[in-house]
């Protein structure tokens, strides 16, 4: 973390606010209140796993959960997310102990450059929590807010299907 003192004098604020991220309360001080949740997660809390690729909700790379809803972190005003439960990619599983979805992405070849991957992991967990046995087109529609430029999506669909199969006991 390097930017904790980087207030903008012309726009800075004395308004402190608290964000509840991955089970921990964080006080955000001296911040410009126009910052997105994505910016605050990355630059003030050092949670670099959420990625920004468009800052307008068109790529899904910054997907996080806010009160259990999958949203784009770039479209959440950070100072408005007080009192809400925020879960980021860092809160999905401990480092070195990947979730089943994370492991399946690696095993299925669903990762190339990896920039879209954290957002896709968030979206896939949200999808499978809601719909444990999605059809191929359900997967396509539910993940359509996450753009990947490397893989052409085929291996990602494969990864999601593998998790669905494994979760129902491995029966195909």
């Amino acid at each position: 973390m390097s930017d904790t003192t980087a207030a903008v004098p012309t726009t800075g604020s004395n308004q402190m606010y608290v964000l509840h991220v991955n089970g921990v309360d964080h006080e955000i001080r001296d911040a410009w209140l126009g910052e997105s949740l994505l910016y605050v997660l990355r630059e003030r809390l050092g949670l670099m796993g959420s990625k920004g690729a468009c800052e307008q909700g068109e790529c899904g790379s910054c997907s996080v959960l806010v009160d259990d809803e999958l949203v784009c972190g770039c479209l959440v005003l950070a100072a408005s997310a007080t009192g809400q439960r925020i879960v980021t990619i860092e809160g999905v599983a401990p480092v070195g102990a990947p979730s089943d979805v994370q492991q399946a992405f690696v095993d299925a070849g669903a990762v190339q450059c990896g920039f879209c991957t954290p957002g896709l992991i968030m979206a896939t967990h949200a999808l499978l929590d809601r719909s444990p046995e999605p059809t191929e087109y359900e997967i396509r529609e539910e993940l359509s807010g996450n753009v990947c430029r490397c893989t052409g999506y085929g291996r990602i669909i494969e990864a999601v299907q593998r998790v669905a199969v494994a979760r129902r006991g491995g029966a195909a």
Partner: protein, 769 residues
Amino acid sequence: MSATTATTTTTTTTTTTGAPVTGRLGDSPVRPDGIAKVQGSFAFSGDLSADGSLWGATLRSPHPYARIVSIDLSGAWAINGVEAVVTAEDVPGKPTYGLIDQDQPVFASEYVRYVGEPVAAVAANHPETCRRALAAIRVEYEVLEPLTDPERAADGTFPPIHPNGNVFRHQRIVRGDTEATGEVVVESDYEIGMQDQAFLGLEAALAIPDPGGEGVELYVATQWLHEDRGQIAACLDLPAEKVRLTLGGVGGAFGAREDISLQVHTCLLALRTGRPVRIAYSREESFLGHVHRHPARIWMRHHATRDGKIVKIEARIVMDGGAYASTSSAVLINAVTHMQGPYKCENAVVDGWAVRTNHLPCGAMRGFGVVQACFAHEGQMDRLAAACGLDPVEIRLRNAMETGDRLITGQVIENVAPVRECILETAALPLPDEPVGGHDGDPMRLPGGAGLTADRSHIRRGIGWGVAIKNLMYSEGFDDFSTARVTLRDGVASLKFATAEVGQGFVTLAGQIARSVLGVDDVVLEPIDTTVGSAGSTSASRQTWMSGGAVDGACRLVREQLFAHVGAQHGVDPLRLAIDGRDVVDTMGDLCVPVAQATAGLVFEDTFEHHHRPTEELDENGQGNCHTAFAFVAHRAVVDVDPELGLVKVVQIATAQDVGRALNPLSVIGQIEGGIAQGVGLAVMEEIVQIDGRVRNANFTDYLLPTFLDMPDVVATLIEHPDPMAPLGAKGVGEPPCISSTPAVVAAIRDAIGKDLTRTPVRPSDIVF
């Protein structure tokens, strides 16, 4: 440094003694960086920061062509938190850069030549401070009439917009009997729009100045560290060794990171302020800040016999290179030399221009000039098929190129050239078994998707073909090489190279090579930086061949050392020794020493530079052995089209690709599917729209990339004939998937609607009207 560099990764495979080494060539081991990437802990260049770092930002021209009358920086300096403001006057060294011709200014000084050209940069304590500082800089422009018609650049009717003139390069190819004619003649004009690489990981860099400002360290996502270093050092007037580059994690590249974008600016601001500086582009800035695929207009005429054999091709190509040279001249050469496609052709007259306009600069993008050529020659093959009463497969089979055939440059194809097999294997792949709209009636399967624009009865299905030839590696006399150093210590191989890992998986492949050659399980990849020799660029489908060859060569040198050591220890001729699994074995005796035991407490190290065979420049008639090697591919597209609304749903792409040898089949499939997605994008949605020199869609709301619902099923066959010319038998696989997939999709749309389409991307209005 608060973040570790992205590229230090260790792979460990726990195996029981006696089990074969896994993760060797031909296997599909998982990526060594995979777990970090899925957990969000992999550090991309935009994730890097340093204590006390400032943010940098760039002021860009709002005009396509204008003279800078004055620049007033006082407003920016007056803003609290601003630490540096720099312009062209502050560039200490060479004022321009470029991969081939150094004509692109670090900052515009006298003229701006495209919307988005850098004019100044600031460093400040917060991105919002930067935005305000940029807004406070006053630049007075005298707006000039922009050159927006590439034809006027080619024909010389527009006054030069740059001292070097408006033509980057003109190249003619004349071969055989230029007067030859055929019984069947077909011709058409074709147009290819400007595609963006649109990698997701935006341009970002962190520069850390040396104390005293005598040098700088740059962490950056790039395709070619050493080339960047040379250009940066020249602009900063520093010796190359004082500019040290480390690869920041790269979120895709596709050609757009081959040129300099923010590198010099970031270093300059760091040296000015004496503090670390980060620059991170926004999406809009990324569209303006890197080079794109050349838009092109191509006229083409084929002469053929009545039974469809090509007699002669004629072509005229104009590629819009935008405001600065980048790699335009090389892109042009690829286009003109690939105009015949993967087909036999003895006679040719081809004329090509790459020109300067006041559009966004264009340069490398996956396919590099061949995408444009292929769109035209494949459109022509379908025309020829129709004129000769043949089907699209038959016309291509009749003309399919083979090993030993000559290009229109006179160069003999010495590589394996399984064009016929690619076509036949693609044709053998099953067509989609579901009807229009699928069995489940999910509206998402129809063109228009959730928009519920159509019912099944409105939809027509079409099938189209595309076949391509693509050169691999660099051309025209460039001494292309890659360097690798291998250290074998206690049974662990450490690999050092400067090969940019941009997502393609070289980090996986490098370990596979080491395991195969050295019989080790554990491979450590050292940081990817400029402390070893150049690897060349991660582009041109070249790293498997070039850096794979370098790692393979270095591993073999180390293995020789190991065999010499084991041979001396055991009194065996090293020439009799071989690696079997994890062991050094005597092929003529019963000696068997585990590699780990043989190397215990010892270090074997060697470095290898892999060069490909030399190439030549083209002469004035476009003749010469200018290319290194070639790969081939076929695509068949099935599309559903709503003719009344012009909406398209690509249903399936079938492909058979000449890969030489699949060293990591899962990675190859990843390249094929990913490349096809980009080809589909160019076919039906991706285009940077510039009107009067102004970009109208520099964002992901209006520059559309294929989503999960736009990408078809891909069925693929890998054609494996190891190429004797390739160090590992493997051809590069990155570019071919995105070359002929585009014309295949467009041909399928034509087939569905029975209408001529000569432009890509195909817009709904092109189908409707």
